[in-house]
Structure formats: structure tokens, C-alpha cells
């Protein structure tokens, strides 16, 4: 590593070539997704490495023939509502677990961490019967509430870690100034924990946006994006062009979000809080 690299060695060396392989490993499948979405839907039955001719028909079909527009709106409503609830409850609990002297909070954190890793299949059947009794199947709240509960433990985890890092003097000063606990949290702690809130928001948003099993079970007629995409076409004919056009539209918001806020995402992934 200390050897002086000169000339072409600077550009063409083992590290850079391996880096190129990493890029190809990630990019090639994505490339395939995007170019297929721009191919003419009538001649998808052959291998083409470049769209010829380019066509936007798949995109038109996704919104006209299939109801992708409404799936998108459903997903936006459920995802934003669940994320908001998770942030409100999660910030309060994260503050308490990170900074207040509660007995047994260590056990509570371990339990929450385990719950966040539990397989959804374990709760699907009873939740389904419960939602059926409540008349919540195919409703927004039928997904918003389970999502809130399922993604809260991880958000609490992230928020608690950020809360731990805020100096104690901050809230003491505020308390001496006579501020109540709610005001202290709102005007002192929250602004300082904002990066944590942000990180938790991105993680929760991504989790809700991509969730499949519960959306499939509870809301088969009020389709979220993943369910909509999985049920495009008929058993005999899968319209891949349309599916990929819808996919590009569906992945775009998350891709942009994650790209712009990559620092937050990486800090969330690596603050000891690990989840794929």
C-alpha cells in the first residue's frame, strides 16, 4: 500500500478493477430493469441489450390498463401515516428509554430488539381474524396500525441511541428555567435529536413502502404497490414491460430519498442498529 503508483498504475490497479466489478454486480440487474421498461411492449419476447425503438408505452399501460396510480396513492397514504405515528410514539419512548431512570428498561430494550426481528408469519393469522371481526380488512387503518407496531421497535432503537448522546446538562438547564417535561422534550431534546428522528423516518418509510406479506393478507382489494405489481397480468401472461415501468416509478422516490440522505441511512445502519 505504501508503494508509489505512477502512470497507468494509478488508474488500472487491482482495487479499481475490483471496484468496477462491484459496480457491475449492482448496476447490471438495475440496468436490465430500466431498459426493459422502455422497450416496446409488443416485442418483449427476445433478448435485447438496448431498447430499439425506445417507447413509453409500458408507462402509459401501467397507469391506464392497470390501476397503478391508485396503488401508488394507497401506498403513499399508508406509508406516511404509519411513519408519522411511528415517529411520534417512537420519539417519546426513545426519549424515556434513553434518558429517564426507568426500572427494567434494559430488559425492555432487549425484548423490543427481538420483536423487531420476529417473522411476520407468526402474527398474520390472529391479526387477520381480528381485522375481519373489526371490519378492517381492505382498509387503510388495517395496515397503518400493524405497520406502526411492527416498525416501532426498530425506530425506538435508533432514537434511543441518538437520545443517549445528548448531554445531560441541556435538560437540566431547561428544568431549572421552569420548563415542564413536555416542553423540555419539544424545545430542547427534539431539535438535538433531529438527525435520529430523520434516520428513523427514512427506515420506517422504506419498511412500509416495501412490505408485502401483511399488505397481501389484509388489503388484497385495497392494493399497495408491491401487491399491485405482484398481481399485474394473468397467470398465463406476465406483462414484464408494464411491471418494470411501474417498478421504476415505485422505486424512484425511495431511491432519491436514500441517495440524498445516504449519510443518515448509513449512520442508522451502523449505529449498532442493524437491520436489512
Amino acid at each position: 500500500m505504501n508503494r508509489n503508483r505512477t502512470g497507468w498504475h494509478k488508474v488500472i490497479n487491482g482495487v479499481n478493477i475490483s471496484g468496477l466489478f462491484v459496480v457491475l454486480f449492482i448496476v447490471l440487474p438495475l440496468y436490465w430493469l430500466i431498459i426493459t421498461s422502455f422497450r416496446n411492449p409488443s416485442n418483449l419476447g427476445s433478448v435485447q441489450y438496448w431498447p430499439n425503438p425506445w417507447s413509453g408505452d409500458n408507462y402509459a399501460q401501467a397507469f391506464k390498463e392497470y390501476d397503478f396510480g391508485s396503488y401508488f396513492i394507497h401506498s403513499v397514504i399508508v406509508t406516511l401515516s404509519a411513519t408519522a405515528l411511528v415517529l411520534i410514539f417512537g420519539t417519546m419512548a426513545g426519549y424515556a428509554l434513553g434518558r429517564l431512570p426507568m426500572r427494567g428498561k434494559f430488559t425492555l430494550m432487549v425484548t423490543l430488539l427481538m420483536i423487531s426481528l420476529f417473522p411476520e408469519i407468526a402474527v398474520i393469522a390472529p391479526l387477520y381474524t381480528l381485522e375481519k371481526d373489526l371490519g378492517w380488512l381492505d382498509s387503510y387503518q388495517g395496515l397503518i396500525i400493524p405497520y406502526t407496531a411492527f416498525f416501532l421497535p426498530f425506530a425506538i432503537w435508533i432514537l434511543r441511541n441518538y437520545m443517549l448522546g445528548i448531554p445531560k446538562e441541556m435538560e437540566e438547564t431547561s428544568r431549572i428555567d421552569g420548563a415542564g417535561p413536555i416542553r423540555t422534550v419539544w424545545s430542547i431534546i427534539l431539535p438535538m435529536a433531529l438527525p435520529g428522528v430523520f434516520t428513523a423516518a427514512i427506515f420506517t418509510f422504506t419498511a412500509c413502502w416495501t412490505e408485502f406479506l401483511m399488505a397481501l393478507t389484509f388489503d388484497i382489494n385495497l392494493k399497495m404497490i408491491p401487491v399491485g405489481i405482484a398481481t399485474f397480468g394473468t397467470p398465463n401472461e406476465v406483462p414484464f414491460g408494464t411491471i418494470f415501468a411501474a417498478s421504476v416509478v415505485a422505486v424512484f422516490p425511495i431511491g432519491i430519498l436514500v441517495f440524498i440522505f445516504r449519510k443518515f441511512v448509513i449512520s442508522g445502519l451502523t449505529s449498532g442498529a442493524v437491520k436489512g
Binding site: 482495487v15 410514539f89 431512570p101 426507568m102 428498561k105 408469519i121 416501532l152 425506538i156 449498532g272
Partner: protein
Amino acid sequence: MTTTSGTAEQVRATTPLVGRPDVNRKRMARLGWTFSAPALIVVAAVTIFPIVYSVILSLNNVTDTGNGVQLHGFTGNNYSVVFQNSTWHYALGFTIIYTFITVAVELVIGTLIALVLQRLTAGRGWMMALLLLPWSMITVINAELWLYIYNGVYGVADAILGAVGLGTPNILGTNTPAIIALMIADIWKTTPFVAIIVLAGLVMLPGDIYEAAEVDGSSGWSTFWRITVPLLRPTLSLAVLFRVLQAFGLFDLPYVMTNGGPGTATTSLAILGYKALFQNLDFGTGSAVATTTALLVLLGCLVSLRAFKVQVGKEGT
């Protein structure tokens, strides 16, 4: 290590500024429970209560009347049906082997990627952003994409295999190729996550150890095995633990790509449970499958309890 009493002492040491410390402490604790209550109630209602109810369902004669399920008394029958069912045996074996192989491959490739990224002189930020794309991908879309790539008539996988003289197998229609195809799709999506975790661990390693190793004439290979790997072990084991528990719930990929087929070749425990519950409407057996899966995950959690505790305690105090 961290204990709650450590926290308590700290609070006591720093709070006498206002009021009497122990009164204050009690008030603060009550405030803590009040603040946590909404979150804890929601989580318990939607996760812990259903898990308990699922156990009850699995221990009862259950009929689905169309207007909801009816329980007809205690039975161990659901479990004996499940334990004697050859598909369940297969699904259990498949899920374990699938989890083991994908996580092992992810770990190796993820570590390699992290080592490459660590040495990159430029563009590391861009590479990290790139790695986040598969991670944030909707799994269903990932499944559809690979379904298209593996298509027997116009899939690019067969075109490539044919070009290098390996013939054009019916990838998703044959048992072993279908399993490998699923694994590749999974590995593509989750390896970047492992790479990010490992890279974060690598960056935090103390540099002077490496200088010392170089002075001692240690080769790159032995430095890696004797210094990097042992120092990375906490990071690696945690990534592995979380990935294992997650892979065990495998559902989205086989549901979209193979529907558990061909035959039952890619039937994971979650697929089996889902089919019993919502295709055969057999809530007793379905709950038994779901409960045994949950118990296995719980067992995995308890075995690794130490890792969890270390994780919680690490930033405690």
C-alpha cells in the same frame, strides 16, 4: 458492563440541583413510563397478543365458518399433523439450508466488497450510495426482475448460459437451479447491506495495529486473518445474527418467483404457513406452522441473547 443501577446513580448524582433527588427520580421514572406507554401498548397489541393467540389457535380444533374462526376445544392434533407432514420436514430443511448458504455467501462477498471500498481512493461516497439501492429495493420488484432474467424463452440468463455453452436449462422449472436462482436474487439484494456494516466496522479499526503488523513483516493474508477478522468479529456476528433471523422468514421471493415450486422445491416455512392459512383455510395447522417457525426464531434469539444484551448495553450507561 452497563446496568440500570449505573444509570440510576448517575441521575442521582446530577439531579440534586432541583428538589429532593429520590422524589425527583420517582417522578422521572413515572414520566418515563407515561412517555413509553403509547408505543408499548401498540407494540404489545399487534405483536405479543397475536403471538399468544396464535399459540392458542394452534392448540385448538379450529374451523373457519366464513364469518370468522371457531374454536372447538384443546388438541395437540395440529402439531402432530405438522410434525408428521413430509412437506413440513422439507420446508424446515430447505429454510435452514437456504438461510445458511445465502448468509455465508453474503458474508464472504460483503466482506470482499467492504475491503475493496476501504481501499478505494476516490468515489467511496458514490459507491456507498450505490450499495443502498438494492437494500432499499422492494423485494417484490427484485423478484419480478429476476423472474424475467430467468425466463426460459426470452430470459437473458439462458442467453448467457447458452453463449458460454452451458445449454439453456429451464431454470425455474427444475429443482436445484430454481433454488440457486432464488439464492442469487436474494444475495444480490442483501449483500450490499452486509458490505456497509462490515465497512463501518473496518473504518473503526485502530490503524496502529496494522502499522505494527507491517513492521513485523506480516503478509496481507495473515494480517487479514489474524488481525482484521478477530477485531471485526462483534460486527460480523451481529450482521450474521440479524440476517439469519430475517432470512428465516423468507416469503416474498419464492411467493412471486416460484410460488414454492416446482413441486415443493422452494417452499419455505413462511410459504407453507401462508398456504395452509389462506389457501387451504386451515387455521389450526397454519397456526401450528407459524408458531413452530416463531419458536425457532425465539430459540435463535435466546441462544444469541448475549449478543443482544451486549448490543443494548454497548451504548447504555
